[in-house]
Protein backbone atom coordinates (compact mmCIF):
# COMPACT_ATOMS: atom_id res chain seq x y z
CA UNK A 1 0.00 0.00 0.00
CA UNK A 2 2.81 2.34 0.94
CA UNK A 3 4.60 1.37 -2.25
CA UNK A 4 1.59 2.34 -4.36
CA UNK A 5 1.33 5.67 -2.56
CA UNK A 6 4.86 6.81 -3.37
CA UNK A 7 5.34 5.11 -6.72
CA UNK A 8 2.03 5.38 -8.57
CA UNK A 9 2.94 8.48 -10.54
CA UNK A 10 6.36 7.14 -11.46
CA UNK A 11 4.79 3.92 -12.65
CA UNK A 12 2.18 5.89 -14.58
CA UNK A 13 4.90 8.04 -16.17
CA UNK A 14 6.97 5.05 -17.26
CA UNK A 15 3.90 3.19 -18.57
CA UNK A 16 2.84 6.19 -20.64
CA UNK A 17 6.35 6.64 -22.07
CA UNK A 18 6.52 2.94 -22.95
CA UNK A 19 3.07 3.16 -24.53
CA UNK A 20 4.11 6.20 -26.58
CA UNK A 21 7.27 4.47 -27.80
CA UNK A 22 5.31 1.35 -28.72
CA UNK A 23 2.43 3.16 -30.42
CA UNK A 24 4.72 5.82 -31.88
CA UNK A 25 6.98 3.32 -33.61
CA UNK A 26 4.48 0.65 -34.62
CA UNK A 27 1.53 2.67 -35.91
CA UNK A 28 1.37 2.82 -39.68
CA UNK A 29 1.67 6.15 -41.46
CA UNK A 30 -1.50 6.68 -43.46
CA UNK A 31 -1.84 6.85 -47.25
CA UNK A 32 -0.63 9.82 -49.25
CA UNK A 33 0.15 10.92 -52.77
CA UNK A 34 3.83 11.37 -53.57
CA UNK A 35 3.72 12.19 -57.26
CA UNK A 36 1.29 12.76 -60.10
CA UNK A 37 2.51 12.54 -63.70
CA UNK A 38 1.94 14.61 -65.71
CA UNK A 39 1.43 17.47 -63.30
CA UNK A 40 0.33 19.89 -66.03
CA UNK A 41 -2.93 18.99 -67.77
CA UNK A 42 -5.32 20.54 -70.27
CA UNK A 43 -8.90 20.53 -69.00
CA UNK A 44 -10.67 20.62 -72.35
CA UNK A 45 -9.11 17.50 -73.85
CA UNK A 46 -9.38 14.77 -71.25
CA UNK A 47 -6.24 13.37 -69.66
CA UNK A 48 -4.61 10.32 -68.12
CA UNK A 49 -2.74 10.57 -64.83
CA UNK A 50 -0.30 8.17 -63.22
CA UNK A 51 -0.39 8.47 -59.45
CA UNK A 52 2.32 7.32 -57.09
CA UNK A 53 1.00 6.72 -53.58
CA UNK A 54 2.72 6.20 -50.26
CA UNK A 55 1.62 3.38 -47.93
CA UNK A 56 -1.29 2.60 -50.18
CA UNK A 57 -2.19 -0.99 -50.89
CA UNK A 58 -4.10 -0.61 -54.13
CA UNK A 59 -3.22 -4.18 -55.11
CA UNK A 60 -5.59 -5.45 -52.42
CA UNK A 61 -8.45 -3.55 -53.99
CA UNK A 62 -10.31 -3.69 -57.28
CA UNK A 63 -10.88 -0.78 -59.66
CA UNK A 64 -14.43 -0.46 -58.35
CA UNK A 65 -13.26 0.10 -54.75
CA UNK A 66 -11.27 3.19 -55.65
CA UNK A 67 -12.90 6.46 -56.64
CA UNK A 68 -11.05 9.57 -57.79
CA UNK A 69 -11.80 13.24 -58.39
CA UNK A 70 -9.95 16.32 -59.52
CA UNK A 71 -10.88 19.37 -57.55
CA UNK A 72 -10.29 22.90 -58.81
CA UNK A 73 -12.03 26.17 -58.12
CA UNK A 74 -14.60 24.41 -55.91
CA UNK A 75 -15.51 22.06 -58.68
CA UNK A 76 -15.27 18.26 -58.49
CA UNK A 77 -14.68 16.24 -61.64
CA UNK A 78 -15.21 12.46 -61.51
CA UNK A 79 -12.45 10.27 -62.88
CA UNK A 80 -12.14 6.54 -63.38
CA UNK A 81 -9.43 4.13 -62.34
CA UNK A 82 -8.26 2.40 -65.50
CA UNK A 83 -5.45 0.33 -64.07
CA UNK A 84 -4.06 -0.71 -60.72
CA UNK A 85 -0.37 -1.02 -61.59
CA UNK A 86 0.87 -2.15 -58.18
CA UNK A 87 0.39 -1.43 -54.48
CA UNK A 88 1.50 2.19 -54.91
CA UNK A 89 0.64 3.08 -58.50
CA UNK A 90 -2.62 3.87 -60.23
CA UNK A 91 -3.57 4.99 -63.70
CA UNK A 92 -6.55 7.31 -63.92
CA UNK A 93 -8.67 8.72 -66.72
CA UNK A 94 -10.42 12.06 -66.61
CA UNK A 95 -12.97 13.40 -69.11
CA UNK A 96 -12.70 16.76 -70.78
CA UNK A 97 -14.31 19.55 -68.88
CA UNK A 98 -14.33 23.28 -69.06
CA UNK A 99 -14.95 26.04 -66.65
CA UNK A 100 -16.58 29.23 -67.84
CA UNK A 101 -13.86 31.83 -67.76
CA UNK A 102 -13.00 34.75 -69.95
CA UNK A 103 -9.40 33.84 -70.41
CA UNK A 104 -7.01 30.96 -70.56
CA UNK A 105 -5.98 30.29 -66.99
CA UNK A 106 -3.51 28.16 -65.14
CA UNK A 107 -5.08 26.92 -61.94
CA UNK A 108 -3.87 24.63 -59.22
CA UNK A 109 -5.95 21.54 -58.59
CA UNK A 110 -6.04 18.73 -56.07
CA UNK A 111 -6.47 15.04 -56.63
CA UNK A 112 -8.87 13.29 -54.25
CA UNK A 113 -8.74 9.53 -53.83
CA UNK A 114 -11.13 7.47 -51.77
CA UNK A 115 -11.10 3.73 -51.27
CA UNK A 116 -12.73 1.21 -48.96
CA UNK A 117 -9.54 0.49 -47.02
CA UNK A 118 -7.77 3.82 -46.65
CA UNK A 119 -10.72 6.17 -46.67
CA UNK A 120 -10.26 9.63 -48.13
CA UNK A 121 -6.85 11.13 -48.91
CA UNK A 122 -5.63 13.77 -51.30
CA UNK A 123 -2.72 15.28 -53.18
CA UNK A 124 -3.38 18.88 -52.28
CA UNK A 125 -2.59 21.42 -55.04
CA UNK A 126 -0.35 18.93 -56.82
CA UNK A 127 -1.80 19.53 -60.29
CA UNK A 128 -1.64 22.51 -62.63
CA UNK A 129 -4.77 22.73 -64.67
CA UNK A 130 -4.91 24.67 -67.91
CA UNK A 131 -8.39 26.00 -68.41
CA UNK A 132 -9.54 27.26 -71.81
CA UNK A 133 -13.01 28.69 -72.21
CA UNK A 134 -15.06 26.37 -74.35
CA UNK A 135 -18.55 26.95 -75.71
CA UNK A 136 -19.43 23.26 -75.44
CA UNK A 137 -19.44 23.52 -71.68
CA UNK A 138 -22.51 25.34 -70.58
CA UNK A 139 -23.20 26.46 -67.08
CA UNK A 140 -24.66 22.98 -66.35
CA UNK A 141 -21.23 21.47 -66.28
CA UNK A 142 -20.19 23.94 -63.65
CA UNK A 143 -22.19 22.01 -61.13
CA UNK A 144 -20.59 19.63 -58.73
CA UNK A 145 -20.01 15.98 -59.34
CA UNK A 146 -23.14 13.84 -58.97
CA UNK A 147 -21.04 11.38 -57.11
CA UNK A 148 -19.17 13.24 -54.39
CA UNK A 149 -16.78 11.56 -51.90
CA UNK A 150 -18.54 9.82 -49.05
CA UNK A 151 -15.82 10.88 -46.62
CA UNK A 152 -15.06 7.30 -45.63
CA UNK A 153 -13.04 6.72 -42.49
CA UNK A 154 -9.86 4.69 -42.64
CA UNK A 155 -10.34 1.12 -41.58
CA UNK A 156 -7.17 1.16 -39.45
CA UNK A 157 -5.30 3.36 -36.94
CA UNK A 158 -2.65 5.52 -38.60
CA UNK A 159 -0.64 8.73 -38.40
CA UNK A 160 -1.18 11.38 -41.09
CA UNK A 161 1.04 11.32 -44.16
CA UNK A 162 3.11 14.45 -44.78
CA UNK A 163 5.33 15.18 -47.75
CA UNK A 164 9.08 15.33 -46.79
CA UNK A 165 8.34 14.01 -43.30
CA UNK A 166 7.08 10.51 -44.27
CA UNK A 167 7.73 8.18 -41.31
CA UNK A 168 9.42 10.87 -39.23
CA UNK A 169 6.06 12.36 -38.29
CA UNK A 170 6.29 9.85 -35.41
CA UNK A 171 9.03 12.02 -33.92
CA UNK A 172 6.32 14.43 -32.80
CA UNK A 173 5.76 11.94 -29.97
CA UNK A 174 9.44 11.92 -28.97
CA UNK A 175 10.85 15.38 -29.73
CA UNK A 176 8.02 17.72 -28.68
CA UNK A 177 7.34 16.18 -25.21
CA UNK A 178 10.95 17.08 -24.31
CA UNK A 179 10.04 20.77 -24.47
CA UNK A 180 6.82 20.32 -22.50
CA UNK A 181 8.81 18.43 -19.86
CA UNK A 182 11.51 21.11 -19.80
CA UNK A 183 8.86 23.81 -19.32
CA UNK A 184 7.21 21.89 -16.48
CA UNK A 185 10.46 21.06 -14.67
CA UNK A 186 11.69 24.64 -14.93
CA UNK A 187 8.31 25.86 -13.65
CA UNK A 188 8.77 23.60 -10.60
CA UNK A 189 12.29 25.02 -10.21
CA UNK A 190 10.88 28.56 -10.51
CA UNK A 191 8.31 27.87 -7.77
CA UNK A 192 10.99 26.46 -5.46
CA UNK A 193 13.10 29.58 -6.02
CA UNK A 194 10.17 31.79 -4.97
CA UNK A 195 9.60 29.60 -1.93
CA UNK A 196 13.28 29.86 -1.06
CA UNK A 197 13.21 33.67 -1.13
CA UNK A 198 10.04 33.61 1.01
CA UNK A 199 11.32 31.21 3.64
CA UNK A 200 15.11 31.23 3.41
CA UNK A 201 14.97 27.47 3.77
CA UNK A 202 18.12 26.10 2.10
CA UNK A 203 16.36 22.86 1.11
CA UNK A 204 14.13 24.79 -1.30
CA UNK A 205 17.23 26.12 -3.05
CA UNK A 206 18.52 22.57 -3.50
CA UNK A 207 15.17 21.47 -4.95
CA UNK A 208 15.17 24.48 -7.32
CA UNK A 209 18.64 23.53 -8.54
CA UNK A 210 17.74 19.85 -8.93
CA UNK A 211 14.72 20.61 -11.11
CA UNK A 212 16.73 23.16 -13.12
CA UNK A 213 19.30 20.43 -13.81
CA UNK A 214 16.62 17.96 -14.88
CA UNK A 215 15.02 20.67 -17.03
CA UNK A 216 18.36 21.35 -18.69
CA UNK A 217 18.72 17.63 -19.45
CA UNK A 218 15.38 17.68 -21.26
CA UNK A 219 16.28 20.90 -23.06
CA UNK A 220 19.45 19.29 -24.40
CA UNK A 221 17.50 16.17 -25.36
CA UNK A 222 15.04 18.40 -27.22
CA UNK A 223 17.82 20.26 -29.05
CA UNK A 224 19.73 17.14 -30.09
CA UNK A 225 16.67 15.16 -31.21
CA UNK A 226 15.49 18.26 -33.08
CA UNK A 227 18.85 18.74 -34.83
CA UNK A 228 18.90 15.10 -35.88
CA UNK A 229 15.34 15.24 -37.20
CA UNK A 230 15.97 18.56 -38.98
CA UNK A 231 19.05 17.15 -40.71
CA UNK A 232 16.92 14.63 -42.62
CA UNK A 233 13.85 16.77 -43.26
CA UNK A 234 15.05 20.37 -43.59
CA UNK A 235 18.44 19.25 -44.91
CA UNK A 236 20.49 20.94 -42.22
CA UNK A 237 20.75 20.52 -38.45
CA UNK A 238 20.49 24.26 -37.82
CA UNK A 239 18.51 26.96 -39.62
CA UNK A 240 17.59 30.56 -38.92
CA UNK A 241 14.36 29.48 -37.28
CA UNK A 242 13.03 31.65 -34.41
CA UNK A 243 12.09 28.57 -32.41
CA UNK A 244 15.56 27.03 -32.78
CA UNK A 245 17.40 30.16 -31.80
CA UNK A 246 15.00 30.82 -28.92
CA UNK A 247 15.51 27.29 -27.61
CA UNK A 248 19.28 27.61 -27.93
CA UNK A 249 19.34 30.87 -25.96
CA UNK A 250 17.02 29.32 -23.34
CA UNK A 251 19.30 26.32 -22.88
CA UNK A 252 22.35 28.62 -22.64
CA UNK A 253 20.51 30.66 -20.00
CA UNK A 254 20.12 27.59 -17.80
CA UNK A 255 23.71 26.49 -18.43
CA UNK A 256 24.66 29.97 -17.20
CA UNK A 257 22.55 29.28 -14.10
CA UNK A 258 24.68 26.21 -13.36
CA UNK A 259 27.91 28.16 -13.97
CA UNK A 260 26.65 30.96 -11.71
CA UNK A 261 26.04 28.48 -8.90
CA UNK A 262 29.49 27.00 -9.32
CA UNK A 263 31.28 30.33 -9.35
CA UNK A 264 30.26 31.66 -5.90
CA UNK A 265 31.75 30.15 -2.76
CA UNK A 266 29.48 31.62 -0.10
CA UNK A 267 26.54 29.17 0.17
CA UNK A 268 24.01 31.69 1.37
CA UNK A 269 24.91 34.04 -1.46
CA UNK A 270 24.70 31.25 -4.08
CA UNK A 271 21.20 30.39 -2.98
CA UNK A 272 20.00 33.98 -2.94
CA UNK A 273 21.55 35.15 -6.23
CA UNK A 274 20.61 32.00 -8.14
CA UNK A 275 17.04 32.18 -6.86
CA UNK A 276 16.70 35.73 -8.16
CA UNK A 277 18.34 34.71 -11.46
CA UNK A 278 15.97 31.75 -11.80
CA UNK A 279 12.89 33.89 -11.17
CA UNK A 280 13.94 36.27 -13.94
CA UNK A 281 15.03 33.47 -16.28
CA UNK A 282 11.74 31.57 -16.39
CA UNK A 283 9.50 34.27 -17.90
CA UNK A 284 12.23 35.07 -20.45
CA UNK A 285 12.50 31.36 -21.27
CA UNK A 286 8.73 31.15 -21.91
CA UNK A 287 8.85 34.26 -24.11
CA UNK A 288 11.81 32.88 -26.10
CA UNK A 289 10.33 29.45 -26.67
CA UNK A 290 6.59 30.14 -26.95
CA UNK A 291 5.80 33.79 -27.63
CA UNK A 292 8.51 35.03 -30.01
CA UNK A 293 8.33 32.05 -32.43
CA UNK A 294 4.56 32.44 -32.58
CA UNK A 295 4.64 36.10 -33.56
CA UNK A 296 7.57 35.69 -35.98
CA UNK A 297 6.96 36.20 -39.70
CA UNK A 298 8.52 32.93 -40.71
CA UNK A 299 9.14 29.58 -39.12
CA UNK A 300 9.76 26.02 -40.25
CA UNK A 301 8.29 24.72 -37.01
CA UNK A 302 4.65 23.70 -37.34
CA UNK A 303 2.42 25.98 -35.32
CA UNK A 304 4.94 28.84 -35.21
CA UNK A 305 5.29 31.89 -37.43
CA UNK A 306 3.61 31.35 -40.79
CA UNK A 307 3.33 27.55 -40.68
CA UNK A 308 0.27 25.57 -39.63
CA UNK A 309 0.39 23.10 -36.77
CA UNK A 310 0.25 19.32 -37.03
CA UNK A 311 -3.26 19.54 -35.60
CA UNK A 312 -4.44 20.64 -39.06
CA UNK A 313 -3.31 17.36 -40.62
CA UNK A 314 -4.37 15.15 -37.74
CA UNK A 315 -7.95 15.01 -38.92
CA UNK A 316 -8.90 11.75 -37.21
CA UNK A 317 -7.07 12.61 -33.96
CA UNK A 318 -4.86 9.53 -34.16
CA UNK A 319 -1.66 11.47 -33.60
CA UNK A 320 -3.16 13.13 -30.53
CA UNK A 321 -4.00 9.78 -28.95
CA UNK A 322 -0.30 9.00 -28.78
CA UNK A 323 1.05 12.54 -28.34
CA UNK A 324 -0.89 13.54 -25.21
CA UNK A 325 0.01 10.37 -23.25
CA UNK A 326 3.63 10.88 -24.38
CA UNK A 327 3.66 14.45 -23.02
CA UNK A 328 2.17 13.40 -19.67
CA UNK A 329 4.43 10.36 -19.46
CA UNK A 330 7.62 12.34 -20.09
CA UNK A 331 6.56 15.07 -17.64
CA UNK A 332 6.08 12.46 -14.90
CA UNK A 333 9.34 10.69 -15.79
CA UNK A 334 11.15 14.04 -15.83
CA UNK A 335 9.72 14.88 -12.41
CA UNK A 336 11.00 11.53 -11.17
CA UNK A 337 14.47 12.38 -12.48
CA UNK A 338 14.28 15.82 -10.82
CA UNK A 339 13.08 14.33 -7.55
CA UNK A 340 15.87 11.74 -7.54
CA UNK A 341 18.47 14.45 -8.21
CA UNK A 342 17.03 16.61 -5.43
CA UNK A 343 16.98 13.78 -2.90
CA UNK A 344 20.57 12.91 -3.68
CA UNK A 345 21.73 16.55 -3.53
CA UNK A 346 19.85 17.01 -0.25
CA UNK A 347 21.56 14.01 1.39
CA UNK A 348 24.95 15.22 0.15
CA UNK A 349 24.35 18.73 1.48
CA UNK A 350 22.97 17.52 4.81
CA UNK A 351 26.08 15.47 5.36
CA UNK A 352 28.19 18.56 4.63
CA UNK A 353 26.14 20.63 7.08
CA UNK A 354 26.41 18.00 9.80
CA UNK A 355 30.19 17.77 9.49
Amino acid sequence: MKWVKSYWWKLLGVSLVLFSIYAGTSTKVGPGIVRITPDHVESTSGFTLTVEGYNTSFDQLTEKDIRVWVKSMNRLVDGTVTEIIDANHLRLDFPAFGIATNDTLLRSASLIVEDQKHGLFLGSEMLRLRITPDARFTSDSLEHSNNPPEKLEQSYFSFPYRFVLYETIRNLNFHVPMWFTMMTLLLISFIFSIRYLNSNNAAFDIWANAFAKAGLLFGLMGIFTGMFWANYTWGTPWTKDPKLNGAAVAVLMYIAYQILRGSIDDEDKVARISAVYNIFAYPIFIVLIMVLPRIADFSLHPGAGDSVGFSNYDLNNHLRKVFYPAVLGWILTGSWIGQLTGRLDLITKEREWND
Partner: protein, 72 residues
Protein backbone atom coordinates in the same frame (compact mmCIF):
# COMPACT_ATOMS: atom_id res chain seq x y z
CA UNK B 1 37.95 0.31 -17.58
CA UNK B 2 40.42 -0.05 -20.44
CA UNK B 3 38.83 -3.31 -21.54
CA UNK B 4 35.43 -1.65 -21.51
CA UNK B 5 36.70 1.24 -23.64
CA UNK B 6 38.20 -1.19 -26.12
CA UNK B 7 34.98 -3.16 -26.25
CA UNK B 8 32.90 -0.04 -26.89
CA UNK B 9 35.32 1.18 -29.58
CA UNK B 10 35.20 -2.20 -31.35
CA UNK B 11 31.42 -2.16 -31.24
CA UNK B 12 31.22 1.39 -32.60
CA UNK B 13 33.72 0.77 -35.41
CA UNK B 14 32.03 -2.49 -36.44
CA UNK B 15 28.69 -0.72 -36.48
CA UNK B 16 30.13 2.15 -38.49
CA UNK B 17 31.67 -0.15 -41.11
CA UNK B 18 28.34 -1.96 -41.49
CA UNK B 19 26.54 1.33 -41.94
CA UNK B 20 29.04 2.61 -44.52
CA UNK B 21 28.93 -0.69 -46.47
CA UNK B 22 25.18 -0.53 -46.58
CA UNK B 23 25.38 3.08 -47.74
CA UNK B 24 27.66 2.13 -50.65
CA UNK B 25 25.35 -0.68 -51.69
CA UNK B 26 22.21 1.42 -51.67
CA UNK B 27 24.11 4.56 -52.71
CA UNK B 28 21.77 6.47 -50.43
CA UNK B 29 22.01 7.43 -46.79
CA UNK B 30 20.56 4.89 -44.36
CA UNK B 31 18.34 7.58 -42.91
CA UNK B 32 16.62 8.34 -46.21
CA UNK B 33 15.60 4.72 -46.79
CA UNK B 34 12.19 3.20 -46.03
CA UNK B 35 10.41 6.51 -45.60
CA UNK B 36 13.16 7.92 -43.32
CA UNK B 37 12.12 5.45 -40.62
CA UNK B 38 15.65 5.27 -39.22
CA UNK B 39 15.46 8.94 -38.26
CA UNK B 40 12.84 7.89 -35.70
CA UNK B 41 15.17 5.16 -34.42
CA UNK B 42 18.00 7.71 -34.24
CA UNK B 43 15.89 10.15 -32.23
CA UNK B 44 15.00 7.39 -29.73
CA UNK B 45 18.67 6.39 -29.47
CA UNK B 46 19.61 10.04 -28.71
CA UNK B 47 16.94 10.15 -25.97
CA UNK B 48 18.23 6.99 -24.33
CA UNK B 49 21.89 8.05 -24.60
CA UNK B 50 21.03 11.30 -22.81
CA UNK B 51 19.04 9.50 -20.11
CA UNK B 52 21.82 6.96 -19.54
CA UNK B 53 24.46 9.72 -19.37
CA UNK B 54 22.37 11.41 -16.67
CA UNK B 55 21.97 8.08 -14.87
CA UNK B 56 25.75 7.70 -14.94
CA UNK B 57 26.15 11.12 -13.29
CA UNK B 58 23.70 10.15 -10.53
CA UNK B 59 25.58 6.87 -10.09
CA UNK B 60 28.84 8.78 -9.59
CA UNK B 61 27.22 10.92 -6.89
CA UNK B 62 25.84 7.87 -5.07
CA UNK B 63 29.28 6.24 -5.25
CA UNK B 64 30.80 9.30 -3.59
CA UNK B 65 28.23 9.16 -0.81
CA UNK B 66 28.90 5.45 -0.35
CA UNK B 67 32.63 6.08 -0.14
CA UNK B 68 32.09 8.75 2.51
CA UNK B 69 29.80 6.56 4.62
CA UNK B 70 32.27 3.69 4.44
CA UNK B 71 35.05 5.92 5.72
CA UNK B 72 33.07 6.88 8.80
Amino acid sequence: MERLTKFICTLLLTGWSLVSFAAVEESRDLFFRSGKYFVVVGVLVILFIALFAYLYRLDRKVSELEKESNEE
